[in-house]
Assembly symmetry: C3
Homo-oligomer: 154 residues x 3
């Protein structure tokens, strides 16, 4: 359980959680088994549309980091919708970050920090997670980034 | 627990489950911990051989969707072999779909629907899963698609 | 629980476990939920530095297999540090192996065997795992390989 009020942090950061997105097909944005919640890969979006780009080509690491922060906010929106209240989150357990990359781009970890840092700000120690970040050939709709997540809830 | 008989659906769809494949090395096709089963990434096959191809180059989205359906059938074969009876499946929890893609191909989600739709047909609501789909640079043996899965069983 | 003494096997193989690495950002090298431990993606290293290379271009399959064995040793180091004693490991449940690959390289499974084989040597049947291996466009810091792991502990 987080020692801080995640909503107070979000307000201090001037972040408004989005209404959780609806999947476009025969899957769901999150699925719970026992007290583990699996969140689907969330695509980076800007102004409600896919945030298109490829790191090492059309996007800089700083832009990628901003995209990761945006995806993390969407993931929080999905968790809030699923749990009713983020206080029910015990821990972010695992984050997997898929970065749309050229064959030469090697800063996927810096991009992903944009999401990891936000989880730490919002949840404190409960936001610390195991993590993998790597470069993929492409992402649905050309999005620059896709992040999925495993969380423990009460 | 599915509200429908998965074998009746499979029969209606004229699908015969394959004998579960054997891994080629020091790993297993599925591993259970508690009531969670992790299935290894299953490669797309055609006529028992790797279904070779790359989306955006040598394969169309429709062909990819057919490959995803074929992998889903193989995953069901592995689940059937592991569980003895698919009625023991409580839910497909998470699907991860790795699509062999050129750097420009962006329809990994449509390809993956070929598998997601079959799970929904066979299991109903119990078949709805969290999901990630993305494009990878290559896949063992040149297969066009690899899908792994997490399921909850009783 | 392994039927063999993993430390005796490591000694017989002349393997010294490394001091577990520290993450470079707001994440941790492993996170436990219940009796499941998720290990972060560990990058291949050589002489303490990222083992840079791309399969199908600057590295051979045999070199990749050696890198996978090196990553597996680092994963064991992290497990040892987290658990206090490897006897507490009940099973390696799932291994995901991300191989830095050209668009044409198709031997990710052979590379990954370097890690899978070591787990089998060290833990016996408890080391057998579900597995996915595939080729990615790039990896942080240009490493040739990244492996993450899910384990069950007592």
């Amino acid at each position: 359980m987080s020692e801080r009020d995640p909503y107070a942090v979000l307000k201090a950061l001037d972040i408004t959680l989005p209404v959780a997105g609806a999947p476009a097909a025969a899957y769901v944005m999150c699925a719970q088994s026992g007290n583990i919640v699996y969140l689907s890969g969330h695509l980076a979006k800007q102004d409600g549309k896919p945030w298109v780009g490829k790191l090492g080509d059309t996007m800089s690491t700083d832009e990628g980091r901003a995209a990761a922060r945006a995806v993390a906010i969407d993931l929080l929106g999905t968790l809030h919708a699923h749990l009713g209240h983020l206080k029910r989150l015990k821990r972010i357990v695992k984050v997997t970050s898929l970065v749309n990359s050229t064959p030469d781009y090697t800063e996927q970890h810096l991009v992903t920090n944009g999401g990891s840092d936000l989880f730490l700000e919002v949840f404190g120690q409960s936001g610390r997670h195991a993590r993998s970040a790597f470069g993929v050939a492409q992402i649905p709709l050309g999005a620059c980034l896709e992040i999925e997540l495993v969380a423990e809830v009460d």
